[in-house]
């Protein structure tokens, strides 16, 4: 579990394999949100275009990082993560993180003020 506050960044380190023709335009899209039965509800996200994919006859591994900044656009709570490799030949390739592994602490919160009094 990773605790994050507003202003923090969550860095996704993404690896995938490629072979065949050189390719431009592939994108990696990372998101923090809620994974549900109907899909992944994104709240914060970022994406990057992958460059430098060259021809190779055999599978080659590429590693790319994406940072998602934690902003006030997300409330305090536990969240899920998702990354997809998109704009590639064929279907997008998805990756999902462990559920509720991201906990956003958010702004300072106060509660349960209690008071007692007595003659002094």
């Amino acid at each position: 579990m990773i605790q994050l506050q507003y202003g923090d960044k969550l860095r996704f380190t993404c690896s995938f394999q490629h072979k065949g023709a050189a390719y431009t335009g592939a994108k990696l899209h990372a998101a923090i949100g809620n994974k549900g039965a109907l899909g992944f509800d994104e709240i914060l996200n970022n994406e990057t275009t992958v460059t430098g994919i060259i021809y190779d006859a055999t599978w080659q591994t590429y590693t790319v990082t994406i940072d998602v900044t934690i902003t006030s656009g997300i409330s305090s709570g536990a969240y899920d993560t998702m990354v997809k490799l998109m704009s590639i030949p064929g279907s997008d390739i998805y990756w999902y993180g462990t559920l509720d592994d991201i906990v956003v602490v958010g702004e300072a919160e106060f509660q349960s003020l209690s008071v007692s009094y007595a003659k002094a």
Partner: protein
């Protein structure tokens, strides 16, 4: 016993694209126009006897500086008839120019005709797999 033809590039290069030799003509070279690196390729060629009598004909080939053996080593070919010679090789990582040479026998192997064909590299569509991710606070 007739020896095998010389397995090297003939010394004369000016016959490129002259059409036919004095006694033989390379009618055709059969290869794919493109291939992926590492693919096993078969090449064959039809060589015709232009002479009025039967002669011994042989063939050899070179691509990117590599010698390619064509079989049979040689053949007796009747006048007006062609003989097929064939060989195989592994496609390298770049496009190649394949040179094919024909030879006829008198008291030695004499280089006679020459043709070339280009085989382009085919890289295939880009493929992706195995997305894996780790994350950390920075």
């Amino acid at each position: 016993m007739i020896p095998s033809p010389p397995k090297k590039t003939p010394p004369t290069q000016e016959r490129i694209f002259t059409g036919k030799g004095n006694y033989t003509e390379i009618l055709a070279i059969y290869t794919p126009s493109s291939s992926q690196p590492g693919s096993y390729l078969t090449v064959s060629t039809d060589i015709k006897n232009l002479y009025a009598q039967g002669i011994y004909i042989a063939a050899s080939a070179v691509y990117n500086g590599s010698q390619l053996t064509l079989l049979p080593d040689y053949a007796v070919v009747n006048p007006g008839v062609f003989q097929n010679f064939y060989g195989s090789f592994i496609m390298p990582n770049s496009s190649i120019t394949l040179m094919v040479y024909s030879w006829y026998w008198t008291d030695q192997w004499v280089f006679d005709d020459q043709k070339q064909i280009i085989i382009n590299i085919s890289t295939g569509e880009a493929q992706f797999q195995k997305l894996s991710v780790s994350y950390a606070k920075v």
